[in-house]
């Protein structure tokens, strides 16, 4: 997302930059205080001041050093920028803008505050604009407008990519040429036959047989060329889409989590499966036919004009008419069928709604109402569908007739010439055959622009991913290092969107082997802290040191191999238990695996399953309970012999027995590595050396259980609240049987 718009000349003059001053951030704003759309309003931040420009005037100017508060507040479908200046007691509205600029200005506000603190760091937005701010074109999830960015277009990259398939392309071109040539020869053969041989007295049986055989051979050749051409196109299309798919998949694995989380998983799946399939479809449907159609049409016109240019002009004159009609017809059809699709979509979602909520519908007894609603939707759909089908049935034959109008004229004028003996019957037949070659593909050709645009959109989306550089990658001087597990946070700030800080100025020093319990209400950033230790994201500000080395200076793969992670929801891949355990350490021996499983209290249940370590788990696989999955995850973590262990709600939502077993397993595991554990059930953290309470983006409290209980702060509150909840639950549990 662009945070530095180009400021127009007049505004630049009004701004009057000082000698050492440059524009750091600049964004337009588009609503004025009366609530009207406005143009030519700009928010500019330089090293020294924050300026609001309206038309060519400065309406507000605040030295950056005097900003005590600056925040973009999102409202309902618009946003405001609120400021407080040193010496002012109250919040003040500075600007108003639509959703187009909300996140942009939020980023800029953060950037301005960083400038005030004297940080040279420039805020960058990872989000994408939905609409190109320059040309107003909708962007299909790409980071830059393909038209305005001036980078080599996706199409050009694709063309050079297609260079890998030179051989196929040459063969296809030859086959296309052959098909067109044969198609063009056939009318000539027919003409000769009609004029020379198909005449009583002159022609012989032998000639008729020769003709029939020649024609048969020609048609077989056409069919052969067609089939091999389509075969080649299909296989090339499949190969291209397979290769792109592989590249995309590889890239997605490489890219940082932030890239993937900024996009919906569905959208990314779509790029791998949908967009590459789109390319294959284009290769099969359009590419195969496109060029040979054009070659045939152009050659037909050339031959026709050499036969009779007057008739040719007559014939060609109708082409624009037919083309225009066909386009208009298609547009109309598209509109109509889009509407039909829209209605069927409504029916589907209505149906899905009711069926998924059937328990609610039944328990509230609203079956009748829902049936009535559905009937309404269904009859609306039926109405549209009927109208469309009738329209199609009525109009299509008429359109085809009109499209061929030119040919009827040719037949008439040609017929007159035949009677006047200035043209032979054979030539007329030949001419009409060429005319059909010209008109035949017209209807099909009108689909081409749409198909080409779809291809381009898909290409843009694919290359948007392929061109993306992973944010987190090994620095050139990264080192491979065996770590001991000392972790230090130095002034760390981070937000998934950099305008919404999740953690601010975190300072924390952890000794090797220490166990840290992370406590706080949900959404306070405990998991985020852990994500940063795992280096799934890069910090916005500050540093994380592992054994005194900046985490960014470590080779990622080596570092990750020394981490162990157990999450609340542990993902098991489709495969055997053995393979799932080996995932952490591909070269682990069977003995190592069994040892790890024993440590995790998992060995016994694994051996009890019918196929032991070879039991298939994952989707459609053997059903493991939550506790069993959890123990597998712990075994997986142990196998790595990690130096830093991360437990994110590893024991929540388990029954008492499995929790006990897991607790025991974890105790063994945490004994000799640095552990960060998050747990809602605070009793789980009783063994922690220190507890860190996170509240309001900061570390609010830190200390041992006893220290924090004495302090009577947030932790104390949480513990007492949980005790009371437990007591209440227990009491309810006891009361029930007494009532019954």
């Amino acid at each position: 997302m662009n945070l530095k718009f180009k400021l127009p000349k007049p505004q630049q003059e009004a701004l009057g930059l000082g000698e050492r001053e440059s524009i750091r951030y600049c964004s337009p704003y588009d609503i004025d205080f009366a609530g009207h759309w406005t143009k030519n309003g700009y928010l500019v931040v330089t090293e020294e001041r924050l300026v609001v420009l309206e038309n060519e005037e400065i309406v507000e100017e605040i030295p950056v050093a005097e900003l005590t508060y600056l925040k973009c507040e999102p409202l309902v479908n618009n946003g405001i920028l609120v400021v407080r200046r040193a010496g002012e007691k109250e919040d003040r509205i500075l600007l108003r803008f639509s959703m187009k600029h909300v996140s942009r200005i939020a980023f800029i506000a953060k950037g301005a505050l960083l400038l005030k603190e004297g940080s040279a760091k420039e805020v960058v937005s990872r989000e994408n604009d939905k609409v190109c701010p320059v040309c107003g074109r909708a962007l299909h999830g790409t980071s830059e407008c393909p038209k305005c960015s001036g980078k080599p277009s996706a199409f050009r990259k694709f063309i050079s990519f297609c260079g890998n398939y030179k051989f196929s392309l040459i063969v296809i071109a030859l086959l296309m040429g052959a098909t067109s040539a044969i198609q063009l020869i056939i009318p000539k053969v027919q003409a000769v036959f009609i004029d020379k041989h198909l005449r009583p007295e002159v022609g012989t049986n032998q000639q008729i047989i020769t003709y029939a055989i020649t024609m048969a051979i020609l048609y077989v050749m056409i069919i052969g060329a067609h089939v091999s051409r389509y075969y080649m196109c299909m296989s090339m299309g499949t190969r291209i889409s397979k290769d792109l798919r592989r590249q995309l998949y590889y890239k997605l694995q490489k890219l940082s989590l932030s890239f993937i989380q900024d996009r919906r998983p569905g959208a990314l799946m779509n790029r791998i499966t949908g967009d590459t399939a789109q390319i294959r479809r284009f290769m099969e449907d359009a590419f195969a036919g496109m060029f040979s159609c054009i070659i045939t049409m152009v050659s037909a016109v050339i031959i026709m004009s050499r036969m009779n240019w007057k008739l040719t002009i007559l014939c060609v004159a109708f082409v624009p008419v037919a083309l225009g009609l066909s386009i208009a017809f298609r547009k109309n059809i598209h509109r109509r069928f889009h509407m039909q699709w829209h209605k069927s979509d409504k029916i589907n979602s209505g149906l899905q709604d009711v069926l998924t909520g059937i328990r609610v519908v039944k328990s509230f007894g609203t079956e009748e109402e829902e049936a009535e609603n559905f009937k309404k939707l269904a009859s609306e759909f039926a109405k549209v569908q009927k109208r469309n089908e009738v329209f199609w049935a009525e109009l299509f034959p008429i359109i085809s007739f009109v499209m061929g109008l030119g040919i009827y004229f040719v037949t008439y004028f040609g017929g007159i010439r035949v009677l006047g003996e200035t043209m032979t019957v054979g030539d007329l037949t030949r001419f009409v055959a060429y005319a059909w070659m010209l008109y035949g593909p017209l209807g099909w050709m009108t689909f081409l622009p749409r198909q080409i645009t779809q291809l381009l959109t898909s290409l843009e989306r694919i290359y948007d991913v392929l061109d993306e550089e992973p944010l987190i990658k090994d620095h050139t001087d990264a080192v491979e290092k065996e770590i001991t597990g000392a972790v230090e946070f130095r002034n760390v700030s981070f937000g998934y969107r950099s305008y919404e800080p999740v953690l601010e100025k975190i300072n924390l020093k952890v000794k090797p082997g220490e166990m840290i319990g992370l406590v706080g209400a949900s959404g306070t950033g405990k998991s985020t802290l852990i994500n940063l230790i795992m280096r799934l994201y890069e910090v916005d500000d500050g540093q994380i040191l592992i054994d005194g080395t900046d985490i960014n200076e470590l080779k990622i793969e080596k570092y990750h191999s020394q981490l162990g992670v157990v999450l609340q929801e542990n993902f098991l891949f489709a495969g055997t238990i053995y393979n799932n355990l080996k995932f952490a350490k591909p070269d682990a021996t069977e003995e190592e695996i069994i040892r790890a499983a024993k440590m995790a209290n998992a060995h016994d249940f694994i051996v009890k399953t019918p196929d032991g370590y070879n039991t298939y788990v994952g989707e459609h696989g053997f059903n493991l309970s939550g506790g069993e999955r959890q123990r597998l995850a712990i075994a997986r973590a142990i196998l790595n012999n990690p130096k830093i262990l991360i437990l994110d709600e590893a024991t929540s939502a388990l029954d008492t027995e499995s929790e006990y077993l897991i607790q025991k397993a974890l105790e063994r595991l945490t004994a000799n590595c640095t552990t960060f554990a998050i747990a809602h059930r605070l009793s789980t953290l009783k063994d922690a050396d220190r507890l860190v309470v996170i509240d309001g983006h900061h570390i609010a409290e830190i200390g041992t259980h006893n220290e924090l209980m004495e302090k009577q702060g947030i932790y104390y509150g949480l513990v007492t609240a949980q005790l009371q909840m437990q007591a209440l639950k227990k009491e309810e549990g006891e009361a029930e049987p007494a009532v019954g």
Binding site: N77, N78, I80, V82, A721, A727
Partner: protein
């Protein structure tokens, strides 16, 4: 279920506080001209002094948030006055903007809501161009001329009633057509696809 005696007085006090807070969340407290004084701040917001009916204590808020409970169907009733912090707790509700508060106060609060809610009313449609899954609108709104782009799917254009449409563009801005039957035949034809 009776009250349970906990060991230690501190814990019991805590439970009471929690229950008091829950109780407060359940309470529907109405704000009227009798118990509240609203005042414009220099920064363009509104401050509030509210006297509680039970405790007779006056609460002061430097800046409040004004929120409609029924922004589409009942703009002038049940207007919620909330704190400005992240928790955005409800301070109280104004049942009827016409009767319960003075016209000056009402104007003040309406101003705040005009800033909070931004849904331009479309008065005229110049053109709607549909292109490969997106529709490009060029319209006249009560807030001035405007161009925007929407996705061509069913959630972009929503019927608020039989005649009222709400259109959401790619950026998340919303536009309203209060009564599409009042549009000209030509405009209706362009809009046809979304009805």
């Amino acid at each position: 279920m009776g009250m349970k005696q906990f060991e230690g007085a501190d814990e019991e006090f805590n439970l009471e506080q929690m229950e008091a807070e829950t109780e407060q969340m359940l309470r529907l407290r109405y704000i009227t001209k009798a118990n509240a004084v609203f005042e414009r701040t220099k920064g363009g917001f509104v401050a509030l002094d509210l006297t509680d009916a039970d405790t007779k204590e006056t609460e002061h808020y430097d800046r409040i948030r004004v929120v409609r409970s029924f922004p589409f169907t009942d703009r002038n009733h049940y207007v919620s006055i909330r704190t400005i912090d992240e928790k955005s707790k409800e301070i109280g509700m104004i049942l009827d903007m016409e009767k319960d508060i003075t016209p000056e106060t009402r104007a003040m609060l309406e101003e705040q809501m005009d800033i909070r809610y931004f849904t331009p009313i479309i008065t005229k449609i110049h053109s709607i161009k549909d292109e490969y899954g997106h529709a490009y609108f060029d319209v006249e709104t009560e807030q001035g001329p405007c161009k925007f782009v929407i996705y061509m799917n069913s959630s972009s254009v929503v019927n608020l009633s039989d005649v009222r449409l709400l259109i959401t563009d790619l950026d998340g801005n919303r536009f309203e057509i209060p009564d599409f039957t009042r549009l000209s035949a030509k405009e209706l034809k362009m809009l046809d696809l979304f009805l």
